[in-house]
Structures are given as C-alpha cells and as structure tokens.
C-alpha cells in the first residue's frame, strides 16, 4: 500500500461515528439490493419453471411449421439421431418426447374435440408437472398395458363428457396415414390444471399408444426440454440449432418458452423493470449519502487540508487522497454488505418460503405455487458491486475536487 492509500485509510477511521453511519447506509443499500434482486430472480425463475412445466419446457423441438398448424404432417423424425444430439448437449436438465394431435373424444351422447398428448411417463415426470396435477385416480402407467389403453383427462373435460374413473371413452381421429383412427380408452385419472382452457381440452395417453393410434411409426411431434435454468434457454437453443442443422436441415423448428408464451415474458419484464428502477433510485440516494459524508468531512478538515497544501502537498495528490478515502469508505460498506447478504442469500437459495393470504391467491392466478424462492447467481453481486463502485466514484469526484482546490490562506484563516 502506498503512503497515500495508508493515509487515506487512516483518515477514514478518524471520525469513527461518521464513518460508521455512512458505512451503515451503504451496507443497508447493498443488502437490500442483493436480497431483492435475489428474490426477484428466484421468483421469476419459479414462475417460468411452473409455467413451462405445464407446457413445452424451456426449449421445444418440433417440425417446421408445426406451431402454426398443429397437425401430424409437420413431424420430428424419431430414429435416434435427435436423441443423440440432445443427450450430448450441455445444460439439458431433462427432456421428453411427445406426440400430440387432435381427436374427437366421445362418451354416450357427448362428444368434444380435444388435444391428445402421448407422453413417456418416465421421462415426462422430470419435465412436466402434469402427473402431479392428478386430482382423482392416477397418471398414465409407465408400461402401456397390452389390452387396456389408459387415458387421463382434464377435469373439466371429464365433467363435460360426464365421465368418471373406469369409464371407457372413444377417441376418433385421423391418423398420419390418413386412415381413420379410433379406439376405446379407459379413464384412469383426471387432472386439475390452473389453465382452465387447457383443462377443458387436454387428454394424456402413453406415447406408444398414441404412436399406434395415429400410425406415426418412428415420428413424434415434439421434444420438450427443460434447461438447467431458464436463463440458459437461449444458449441451449443456439447450441441445439447448430447441432441439428447439420443433420436435419430445415426440417426442424426450435423455440424457447419466450416465443411460445410471450405473455409470461411480458409479466416478468414489467416486474423486472419496476425493480430495477427502484434499485437505481436507491443507489442514487446512497451515492448521495456518500457524497454528503465526504463533503462534510472536507468541510470539517478545512484547516488540516490548508496546512497540508501550504506545506507543499500537490493539489493532485490531495485530490487522489480524498478520492481514495471516498472509495475506501464505499468499499468498506460494500465488503460488509456483501459479507452479510451473500451468505444469507446462499442459505435462502433453493428454500421455498410459503406465502399466505392474498399474495398466495394472486400467485395461483398465475398458475404458480404460492411460495417465495430466492436465487443466488453471479450477476447479482457483481452487478451491484460495480454499480455502487461507479456511483461512489462519481460521488467522490466533487468533494475531492473541492478539497484539492482549497486555498491554504483561507484554510489558515479559519483558525
């Protein structure tokens, strides 16, 4: 440490009480920023997670044009090549193949058009939450039985048809080969879903059964992929696209949840924007606090500064010293703030705090579970640190300048 730095450091501690207060303000600000960003990140991740787990995951691979038309014609070839690529990709937490198409679902006098999704139950439970939403009966078995074709319906769909567990319903549709497809299915369970429209239309069967029903052979309609975290979705998509373009050319289409569910993204964006504006204002206020503190310190030390300058210290050196003092002041606050908040956030990371009352009801409207989650990542502390340092650097400028401009004569006169 150079002499200037040591001096600056000692100066900082000369007025313990003032320094303590200033540091306290900084610590408080850092703490708040880190914890609230951690909370916002956690909550948003969970929102996304909950939503994509009832849809197509973070990244979905389908045939080109599938999302427009939703027909069997735009298929994904399922001959092992795609599986290979997915298995070797980074950041894939889980994936599941699906066959989904339209069918007429009928029982007695009631028929209803519905969306049938054939899933691989073993893989599916790692990717989606459908199996956890069963409210009566059970989900589709991992092994499709030789005789009984199992089907799970959205509860509203079951109600509409007047169907209960054990009843046999008829599915009627058009297969890929353009043949008619019809079979009897036994209802083994119903699901309660937060999305009511989905609940009115959804029916889930085993993927093998769907494949036979639609005569799809070695084809599927989509692969739903869960990334290691939502933020990785874009890079995962990019990686997969490159890997797949070589083997499949234009045949496949990849989309992230952002493209499939733009409404969700909108909500998060607005939330984030609000939070960041708040935090910026907070940091500005703190920066101001630092400015004030240093300024007051300068004013207080007018005589000392005057003497020092009279003794020959160059203004530039004085500027540097005062500047350093400010930065150190901010630095101390930063270090303490980080060391208090980061361990707390790390401890909270992954814990789900249950929410109650109105907030709980509100989250359920989003289709989310009423819990509060936190997340620790690198960007949070790094970003906050940089921001505070930048603000401190700017705030320290004026006092340091003033100090270096002090005229020894004025200073000595105040004696």
């Amino acid at each position: 440490m150079g002499i200037e730095t040591r001096l600056a450091w000692r100066n900082v501690w000369r007025n313990k009480r003032r320094t303590a207060l200033s540091v306290a303000a900084t610590v408080f600000a850092i703490f708040l920023v880190i914890i609230s960003v951690g909370m916002a990140t956690g909550v948003h991740e969970k929102m996304i997670e909950d939503a994509v787990r009832l849809a197509s995951g973070h990244v979905a691979i389908s045939g080109a044009g599938y999302r427009q038309n939703m027909t069997l014609e735009q298929f994904v070839p399922w001959d092992g090549r795609l599986e290979e690529v997915i298995e070797t990709a980074q950041n894939v937490r889980a994936w599941a193949p699906r066959i989904s198409s339209f069918a007429l679902i009928s029982y007695d006098d009631q028929s209803q058009g519905g969306m049938v999704i054939g899933v691989d139950p073993a893989r599916e439970k790692n990717v989606s939450e459908f199996s956890q939403k069963v409210n009566e009966g059970r989900f589709v078995s991992v092994d499709p039985g030789p005789t009984v074709r199992e089907i799970v319906l959205g509860r509203k769909l079951a109600d509409r048809l007047g169907v209960g567990l054990g009843d046999e319903i008829l599915l009627y549709g058009v297969a890929y080969s353009l043949e008619t497809a019809y079979e009897l299915f036994t209802v083994v369970g119903t699901m309660a879903l937060p999305d009511h429209r989905l609940e009115r239309n959804l029916a889930i069967v085993h993927i093998q059964v769907a494949s036979e029903f639609y005569v799809y052979e070695d084809r599927i309609t989509e692969v739903a992929i869960l990334a290691s975290e939502a933020a990785e979705s874009d890079s995962l998509l990019a990686d997969l696209e490159i890997a797949l373009a070589a083997r499949f050319g234009d045949q496949l289409e990849l989309q992230t949840y952002e493209q499939i569910m733009p409404g969700l993204v909108q909500l998060i964006l607005i939330d984030d924007a609000g939070l960041y504006i708040t935090l910026i204002i907070l940091i500005v206020v703190v920066g101001f606090g630092i400015l004030n503190t240093i300024l007051m310190a300068i004013l207080e030390r007018t005589r000392e500064l005057g003497v020092v300058l009279a003794l020959g210290l160059k203004p530039m050196a004085l500027f540097r010293m005062i500047y350093l003092e400010s930065m150190l002041l901010a630095g101390v606050g930063l270090v303490i703030g980080l060391s208090l908040s980061l361990p707390l956030l790390a401890w909270l990371h992954g814990i789900e705090v249950p929410l109650g009352g109105d907030i709980a009801k509100g989250t359920e409207l989003f289709g989310m579970e009423p819990t509060l989650t936190f997340k620790l990542n690198m960007i949070n502390p790094i970003g906050s640190t940089i921001t505070i340092l930048v603000v401190a650097a700017i705030a320290a400028f004026y006092p340091a300048l003033k100090a270096s401009r002090a005229r020894p004569i004025d200073a000595l006169r105040s004696l």
Binding site: F28, P262, Q266, A273, T278, L282, F288, N292, L299
Partner: protein, 403 residues
C-alpha cells in the same frame, strides 16, 4: 424567538444546510418518481386491457360465469338494462355486444376466431378498436368486417378480401356468410390484433339466428374510481337477474399486479428513507459537534437544555420542510419533463411483440405523493433526534473549553 434563531442558524452555514436539504429532496423525489414510473407501467397494462375490450364493467346474463356459451344471453338485447344505464350519470359510454366462436375461411386458410357483433358508434366509445385502424376504415356499411392485421395475414387476406364466417347457431346448425374486410386493426392488444372479427351487431345476430339477443354489455366511465359506485347502482337498479362485473372481477390478474406494485412501494420507501436517515443523522451530528462551543455559550448564558434540544429540532424541522417541498418540486418537474413518456423502444428490442407499450408513462395517485412526504417528514424528524439530544447533553464548561 427560538424560531428566528433556528432560521438564522440554518443560514450561517449554508453549505451544510444545502447538503441536508439535497439529501432529503433527492430522497423524496426519488421515491415519488420511481413509484410514478412503476405505476405508470402497470397502469399502462391495465389501460391497454380496458381499452382493448375489457372495459370498466360488463353485464352478462345470469349464469354466465359457469357457462360462457351462447345459450346464456340477454334476450331482449339489453333494452331493459339500457334504461338503467342511461339513468346512471357516472357511465360515460356503454355498448352492447354479441360474441360467438366461429371459423373464418379464405380460399387458402381457415382460422378459429371470436366473432363480435357491435354497434359501431357505441363501440368506438368503449374500446380502442375503432381508433386503431391501420388500413381501411372502421365498420360502417353492411356486409363488412374489421379484424386484426395478424389475423388477416394468417388468412392470407387484406382490405377488400372476402372471407366466409361460419358459426354454429343456437339450434346447433352450421351457418355461414361471406363478408368483406373493410379495415385492419393494429393496436398492440393481442386479442384485437389476432383473435377478434368485428361486424355490425344486427348482422351478427342474423348470422347466429339470435334475434335481438346479445351476450354482453360493456361499460366505460370517465373516472376509474367510480367503477364500484356504478356497480352498486346497477345492482340496485337491475335486481337479481343480470350480472354486473367490474374489470377487477373479470381480470383478477391485473389487480394482483397492481397490488404487488404497492407492496414494492413499501420496500422502496423503507430503503430510501433508512438510507436518508443515516445521511441526515450523520450531517446533523457533525453539525452539533462543530457547534459545541456555540451551544456551550448558549447554555452558559442560561438557555435550558430543553430549549437547546428544541432549537436543534426546529432547525431540522425547517430543513425538512424545505427539503420536502424541494423534493416534491423536483419530482413533479421530472414527471412533467418525462411528460408523454420515455420511449424505451431502442433499448427494449422486441418487447412490442409481447404487447407491451414501449413508452414509459408516469402515473400517480394522491397516496403516492402523500405517503413519501409523510414518511420523509417522520424520518427527518427521527434522524434529528439523536443529534438534538447530543446537543442537549453538552456541558457548558466542556463546550467552552473546546476550540
């Protein structure tokens, strides 16, 4: 006398006073502006929803909640209800509608749509559809429809094109008719741009063979705060039959967003004011320290401890008051400067696709002004207490000895 002293003391060390002033004013201004912008964003979302067709209130026939299908409708076309509506002064505009799900077909494509029969003039008062025509014009002549530009693209159609709309009428029969597109909507609302087909109400009624019936009445008022009042009035006037719902009841999600904004406000206030408190206390403590000799003099001359404390407190009170005034002034100036809104489209990239407006327009409620002021005042007073007490504790002899 104390007041005059306090006042003069303030200006003896103008720099210090200004520092404290600025701390308070920036803190307050920050809170007010931050809340205004946040609220503006949510208000923007709510506004888009309301003007996009949600309206402030909607009236449906009894039982609509359970079964939002065609069978549940207002038989007389809302004639009885109309009387009650016209008699309610708080209502600015109201419009009858008929909604039916159907299929729109062009030679190349067919798409499921939500057919909405409206009264073109009344509807223009209630939603922005009529004002968002990007090509062509709003409904006027018979046999015409207006739909979203994205929907038109999916159908491979444009202004002047013919499309056939098919619906299942009340009897379960499939009926259809050809219409010409007379206008395209570009509004930012997903519903309007890609889901709804507007036509004149009598034609929709004829298509669905519903006679005079409609499915809903949309109501708009000039002041959103009056919504509950209107609901109460209509409940009283209409009795148990038709169901009157406010936009909050129709879209609880929006309410949730507003509420979470409010919770965030408290976090913001806490943060800012605590930070501010530290800063103010710091400065005042230092001031007291500096004025030890002066205070000692005052005490030596006979001023009671209590009066010294009061003096310091009053000084802080003055500064606080000015700080608050200044802060509010700054905030209002900033908001006025932002005026029509900050255009973040260059930063925001493709947010437009998500239906968010890329202009941040600040919005304020009286509580967003009052609360920070009150809290600010309390904070300033509290943070001046400790320094004031310190000042009171100074012993005259020690003080005089201090140079």
């Amino acid at each position: 006398m104390l007041l005059r002293m306090a006042w003069r003391n303030l200006w003896r060390n103008p720099r210090r006073t200004i520092v404290v002033l600025s701390a308070i004013s920036i803190g307050i201004a920050g809170c007010i502006v931050a809340m205004a912008i946040n609220l503006g964003m949510v208000a923007g979302m709510v506004d888009t929803a309301i003007r996009g067709g949600l309206a402030h209130l909607q009236i449906h026939s009894a039982g609509w909640d359970e079964n939002p299908e065609l069978e549940v409708r207002l038989m007389d076309g809302g004639a009885e209800i109309a009387k009650a509506l016209d008699a309610t002064p708080e209502i600015q505009y109201w419009a009858p509608r008929l909604r039916a799900e159907g299929l729109a077909a062009s030679p190349r494509a067919s798409v499921g749509v939500s057919i909405t029969g409206v009264d073109p003039i009344r509807e223009a008062g209630v939603s922005i559809a009529a004002d968002s025509i990007s090509e062509g014009q709003w409904l006027g002549e018979r046999g015409r429809v207006v739909l979203g530009h994205k929907l038109a693209r999916r159908l491979n159609a444009k202004v002047g094109s013919k499309i056939v709309l098919s619906v299942q009428d009340l009897a379960g029969e499939l009926t259809g008719q050809a219409f010409r597109i007379t206008g395209l909507i570009r509004s930012g609302s997903r519903d309007l741009d890609d889901g709804v087909v507007f036509m004149r109400l009598p034609e929709a009624q004829a298509l669905v063979r519903m006679g005079e019936s409609i499915t809903e009445i949309a109501i708009v008022t000039s002041d959103r705060a009056l919504v509950d009042q209107i609901q109460a009035r209509l409940h009283a006037a209409l009795g148990s039959g038709p169901e009157v719902r406010t936009w909050e009841q129709l879209e609880p999600l929006l309410v949730f967003m507003i509420d979470s904004m409010d919770s965030m406000a408290w976090v913001l206030y806490a943060a800012v004011f605590i930070a501010m408190a530290f800063g103010i206390a710091n400065v005042l403590l230092m001031a007291v320290f500096e004025r030890t000799r002066e205070i000692g003099m005052m005490r030596a001359v006979g001023m009671s401890r209590a009066r010294v404390v009061s003096l310091v407190v009053i000084e802080s009170a003055f500064v606080t008051m000015f700080g608050l005034l200044l802060g509010v002034g700054l905030a209002l100036a900033a908001i006025w400067l932002i005026g029509d809104g900050i255009d973040i489209s260059s930063f925001a990239g493709s947010i437009d696709e998500y239906g968010i407006e890329t202009v941040l327009r600040p919005s304020m409620r009286s509580r967003d002004l009052a609360t920070p002021i009150v809290i600010g005042a309390i904070t300033a007073v509290i943070s001046s207490l400790w320094p004031a007490l310190r000042a009171g504790r100074a012993k005259p002899a020690d003080a005089l000895r201090h140079v």
